[in-house]
């Protein structure tokens, strides 16, 4: 059986059980709609357009926030990899800030930054920065010594070696951090929208939930799921593009 077919069957089974449980009436149907009801609501909502706007806003926030965080984190890691003094100064600060949950700093961030784009930028970058930075800092220092000595003997400067040896050698590990950041980005975007809420899927879900519009809440969840799938697909495409060699090398090593 192909893996596509297996996935399709598995998902179809999930919806069948959901439909069955919902129709049994174990939970009042006001609180637990059937998949068909949710689908009908979703179609209505998409026609009205509000959910589509919310979806696009959230997706854009997550993607822009994650991209900015990745750029900032890799740039920081490149600097700390190049200058040992900077690394020794920055790493204790990183250890201090890293365990802070983004939700905990949101009230203070609202106080300082208001409810606009700056708030989202700050929360998303803060949440997504650490996994990328930590993976990148580790990866940039982990290139084999013999590769670096070879590059030095050919006349490459330390900056050249960073860009042409340490960075490409570290990309597979850096991407581990990027994947974590991508999933965190969506969580952070939706959570921030719930707190700061004026738009986006977080606001939509909160609004629908608090006003007991249950089918709409489920429709919002479906859209959040789709956003997650899109973010994941983008990361996987980038992964294939940037470090496809690594997967193929690992596959070859596994086959031998």
């Amino acid at each position: 059986m192909s893996s596509w077919l297996r996935s399709a069957l598995s998902i179809a089974g999930f919806f069948a059980v959901w439909e069955f449980v919902a129709r049994m009436g174990v939970v009042p149907s006001d609180y637990f709609p059937t998949p068909t009801q949710v689908a009908a609501t979703l179609v209505d909502e998409i026609r009205r357009g509000e959910i589509v706007a919310a979806f696009l806003v959230t997706l854009l926030r997550a993607l822009v926030g994650a991209s900015a965080a990745v750029a900032l984190a890799v740039a920081t890691a490149l600097l700390t990899a190049r200058y040992d003094l900077l690394r020794r100064a920055f790493d204790p600060i990183a250890e201090l800030l890293r365990p802070l949950p983004p939700a905990a700093i949101t009230p203070l961030a609202i106080f300082f930054l208001g409810l606009g784009w700056k708030l989202y930028a700050f929360i998303l970058v803060f949440a997504c920065f650490w996994p990328v930075y930590l993976n990148a800092a580790q990866a940039l220092g982990a290139a084999p010594a013999v590769q670096i000595q070879t590059a030095r003997s050919f006349g490459y400067s330390e900056w050249d070696i960073l860009a042409r040896v340490r960075l490409p050698a570290g990309l597979p590990t850096i991407f581990t951090g990027v994947r974590m950041a991508a999933s965190i980005a969506l969580i952070a975007a939706i959570a921030a929208e719930m707190i700061a809420g004026r738009d986006g899927l977080g606001f939509y879900l909160m609004d629908a939930g608090l006003t007991l519009r249950v089918p709409e809440t489920f429709a919002g969840l479906v859209m959040a799921m789709i956003a997650g799938l899109i973010v994941n697909a983008i990361v996987l495409a980038l992964l294939r593009l940037a470090v496809g060699w690594h997967a193929r090398m690992a596959a070859l090593a596994g086959a031998q």
């Binding site: 084999p144 013999v146 590769q147 000595q149 070879t150 590059a151 030095r152 003997s153 050919f154 006349g155 490459y156 050249d160 042409r164 040896v165 490409p168 050698a169 990309l171 470090v243 060699w245 690594h246 193929r248 090398m249 070859l252 090593a253």
Partner: protein
Amino acid sequence: MAVLDVDAITKSLGGAEIIGGLSLRAEQGEFISVVGPSGCGKTTLLTCLAGLRRPDSGAVAFEGRRLDGPPDGMALIFQDYSRSLLPWRRNIDNVTFGMRRIAATTVEKRDRAMEILAAVGLRGFDRHYPWQVSGGMQQRVAIARALAAKPRLLLLDEPLAAVDAQTRADIQDLLLKLAAELGKTCLLVTHDVDEALYMADRVIVLSNRPTHVVDDIRVALPRPRDQIATRAAPAYLQLRERVLNLIRAMRTTA
């Protein structure tokens, strides 16, 4: 003027004295092998010669100029070819990686890289990645990359220790052929006395740590060398016995 002039260098690493007043000279076009008991500091010596490490005292001069970092005109070939090659680059791009100091356009560099790959017997493997070819072929890519830098001195750090016997013989002959054709000066560090003698015009025998030169033996065997005839020549066998006795004496006194 000697291509390489090493004058009484010493080097300690982590409190251990590795090199203790070592001197040697390499003349233009010479093939020199350096052998010594295991762990005598051959690799440390090579990194000092390559300008990757600075000796604590003494001096290394390359073509009359005192080394201050890795110089233009010298290239290194390591034992650990699978790690020294860059796995995200195709073989041809690994070769052009060696051309950092070569003034040429990208197209010219690629053309030259193709020629060098052909010269080391890798025609048709330019688009492969290093991990898609055998160990012996990977070492050929590393050799091609070193040649791409147009070095006048090649430093070889046990380049063939990790390949099978047949491949080793093939690449030994390839290296001898290329060194002779291109007029390169070569310094090969190895623990294999047979390889040292087979390749070299001179074999330098090192002592235990802190290492210095205990013998400098001229290998007056005719060239081109032949894997069977050379190794069966009486002169070869005498030299082999002499070097092996030297090393064994140091192993038992160590």
